[in-house]
């Protein structure tokens, strides 16, 4: 309750401040809206040049405050560049003092003062507010005024599907990331060489390799301190292993357990194969092949275990994991942490279940209260044009990048900046901001470590990466029901998973059939039926 009260009182303060601010900005409004009207005769006769949307400068207000960190800044050079091209200036309304994006969004919605463009990080909430009438339906506007968005959507049917709300209409355009690979296997290649071993081809070989790392002292310090398999993501470290026994659905934390098998929605940890998987994982844990502290070590596990020269194998993001080769090159002689082909699973398949999401819950849309819907959609369209996309991906020509053979190449000063990463430098100036635009993987490729690129290429070229479970949307009713059932099921699944792995309870026919029965009592069948309905609607 204490928290709630605090939230409410702060909401009141925010609202008061908001009203004051609104009062101030109202004074400016007539100037902006007035000037195009005065000159309307002139602008009708003169054609617009290039990306110009309006002849005379127009100001649109935007609410943008996401992941508690990124707040629209009127001084972002990249948006100034866009302003020069389109003649539309954005003015941020989100308070820079606030550190809670979700709360601020809700306060803004509750205040009733909704600016022309609204950015948000939760698509589903945005959609249901759109259906209630807070945001404009964009389909018609796109059809008529946004050729670039239209082209993008027809070329990316999956993205187009995702952008629709459950009623089949579009209220929200999403940020679309690029690049297919996410996580991959990494192994201490120098340890393999030292022990005269090959990369494992099967699960049994993986087991043998982990055992060798454990017993044969590959770091050569005379102490049996090696930790063969580790993970910095706690439970995910176990879920990532499930696929080795053909159990699917573990890779995606947002929809844990769910996968589609020829159009039928299934739940990995409810399938009979799960027993074999968890039985073996528990055995590996007992043998000390899996980090004993995997559940509490947390985000720093990779830094600590690699830095201490005791970590052997992990399953993690390519780029950041490969970076350890640079970081530790001087500290540990011969250190080589290289990408590894996934060992064939017990079904004989070489697969990688994780993949980079091709859609993102962040994006923006247009307020139903706006006076400039056409200009707003045209402005959104600008970021999908070739120049707009390049501007958002690479920044400003001459400042961040140069065109080499028609392709943007980041300047040396940007790539070799020791203090800030490329993405930080761009985001500080308004680039790579999660509004609706199509990311270009070429921007990331230029500063990704060569080891990571090699691994990514291998995974992609050989088609290891499995098709991801689609990001389906629910009706409000389904959502509530889903949350209710899923919370119960997931609580039980994770509790059991951990107890089995830790060896608190044995995995056998008796405990496993009890587990399946308990899942059914918790309503897993209803959950799957509900998910199937939403899935079918999405795929249609």
């Amino acid at each position: 309750m204490g928290n709630k009260k605090w939230m409410k009182s702060s909401a009141i303060i925010m609202m008061t401040v908001g009203m004051l601010l609104a009062g101030c900005s109202n004074n400016n409004a007539p100037q902006n809206s007035g000037s195009p009207a005065n000159d309307s005769k002139g602008s009708d006769t003169q054609p617009l040049s290039g990306h110009q949307i309006v002849k005379d400068p127009l100001e649109l207000k935007i609410h943008m405050h996401y992941t508690d960190t990124f707040i629209y800044d009127d001084n972002w050079p990249i948006f100034k560049e866009a302003e020069a091209m389109t003649n539309i200036k954005l003015k941020g309304t989100a308070s820079k003092a606030s550190t809670n994006s979700k709360e601020l969004f809700n306060t803004m919605m509750a205040s009733g003062k909704i600016p022309d463009l609204v950015h948000h990080q939760i698509k589903e909430q945005y959609d249901s507010l759109g259906i209630e009438g807070a945001f404009l339906e964009l389909d018609g506007l796109i059809e008529e005024h946004a050729p670039n968005i239209k082209k993008f959507l027809s070329e990316h049917p999956d993205a187009a599907k995702f952008m629709k709300a459950y009623n089949g209409k579009t209220y929200f355009l999403n940020f679309t990331p690029d690049g297919p690979a996410a996580k991959g296997w990494f192994v201490r290649q120098d340890w393999l060489d030292k022990l005269g071993l090959e990369q494992p081809k099967t699960v049994d070989e993986l087991h043998a390799l982990l055992k060798a790392f454990k017993e044969k002292d590959p770091n050569g310090n005379g102490v049996n301190d090696e930790i063969p398999y580790f993970s910095r993501t706690k439970l995910d470290g176990i879920y990532d292993l499930l696929i080795q026994w053909g159990v699917r659905g573990g890779a995606d934390a947002a929809k844990r357990g769910f996968y589609a098998d020829n159009g039928v929605v299934k739940y990995g940890m409810y399938e009979p194969g799960y027993k074999t998987a968890i039985e073996n994982i528990a055995k590996w844990y007992k043998e000390g092949l899996i980090d004993k502290e995997i559940f509490t070590r947390g985000a720093k596990a990779r830094d600590i275990l690699l830095g201490d020269n005791i970590g052997g194998i992990t399953h993690d993001w390519f780029a950041s994991t490969a970076n350890f080769n640079d970081i530790l090159a001087t500290k540990i002689p011969g250190f080589s942490f290289g990408p590894m082909t996934p060992p064939a699973n017990t079904e004989g398949k070489v697969v990688e279940e994780s993949s980079r999401k091709q859609t993102h819950a962040s994006g923006w849309g247009i307020s139903a209260a706006t006076k400039h819907p056409v200009e707003a959609i045209k402005y959104m369209d600008f970021w999908f044009s070739e120049e707009g996309r390049r501007l958002m991906n690479f920044g400003i020509e001459g400042k961040h990048y140069d065109l080499v053979d028609g392709k943007p190449k980041f300047k040396k000063s940007i790539l070799e900046n020791k203090e800030k990463t490329v993405i930080q430098q761009l985001q500080e100036e308004g680039g790579q901001i999660e509004l609706a635009f199509h990311q270009d993987y070429a921007y990331e490729e230029q500063w990704t470590n060569a080891t990571a690129l090699k691994g990514i290429k291998e995974y992609i070229d050989n088609g290891f990466i499995m098709e991801a479970y689609p990001p389906i949307s629910y009706t409000d009713e389904e959502r509530t029901k889903f949350e209710e059932l899923n919370a119960g099921v997931l609580t039980y699944v994770e509790e059991k998973l951990q107890r089995w792995v830790l060896g608190v309870e044995p995995v056998n026919d008796e405990t496993f059939s009890k587990y399946i029965k308990e899942l059914e009592d918790l309503g897993i069948k209803d959950l799957l039926a509900l998910e199937q309905v939403a899935y079918d609607r999405y795929m249609k």
Partner: protein, 306 residues
Amino acid sequence: MLLNFKEIKTNLVRDRYLYLLLIPFLAWYIIFAYKPMYGLQIAFKDFSVYKGIEASPWVGFEHFESFFKSPYFWRLLKNTVLLSLYQLLFAFPVPIILALLFNELKNGVFKSTVQTFTYLPHFISVVVVAGIVTNFLAPSNGIINILIEMMGGEKQYFLTNPDYFRTIFIGSMDIWKEAGFGTIIYIAALSGVNPALYEAAVIDGANKWKQMWHITLPAIIPTIAIMLVMKVGSMLEVGYEAIILLYQPATYEAADVINTYVYRSGLQDARYDLATAVGLFNAVVGFILVVFANKMSKKLTDTGLW
């Protein structure tokens, strides 16, 4: 009646500046404590931030049902009550004992040094405390396990064992972190005890123990009683942010409380209505307990909140 009114009027005029001073406090209560109560109705509505409180449709007890009906409701309630009970039993007396100990210290430098050290943890964020706890209890190189091994014991993975959870949680978050800070109010109460009482007791031949038992403790009993009543009122509000940092699926059995479960079932996506329903439930239980505790306190110690 008329006379009374006249009296009030003269009072108002005479003490107008004092009453003027009262206004900010009244305003504070009205704006921050009473007005938000209007919003409590969203516990019974399908609340949408866009439609607002008025326009959101009524749904009756749906939100209450959805968490009463949860398959884990009884376990959650049990864990919540047990954690609170243990907090009362083990964490509540610690600041009192600490304050009594400080009171007996004669060396000023030593006393203030120790006080400062025991206050300090209060200012550390729970996230950091949880990190310290995790490190200290780590099975491979945590200091506790190293000590256990040195003494010939076997290393334990404490944070995955539900049997240890309540001890670890209350020991770190309630005792280590908060006990020192909690002494402040008792020390303040102790400083108000008339020294003449002790002098008289010494003349009567009372030793240190007797002095504490018959003078010091009775002197701070009202403070203790009021602190206890207030603590009982917030009984169901165990610090769930700290629990989330320390628990594991393997320890849900002892650690999963109402608030953590609600958090996991998707509160993040602005389910204000559900959160309000849970908060209201906690508040109603808290209210009943406060009334009860206050009655008890009045009966036993003659002090109470009202």
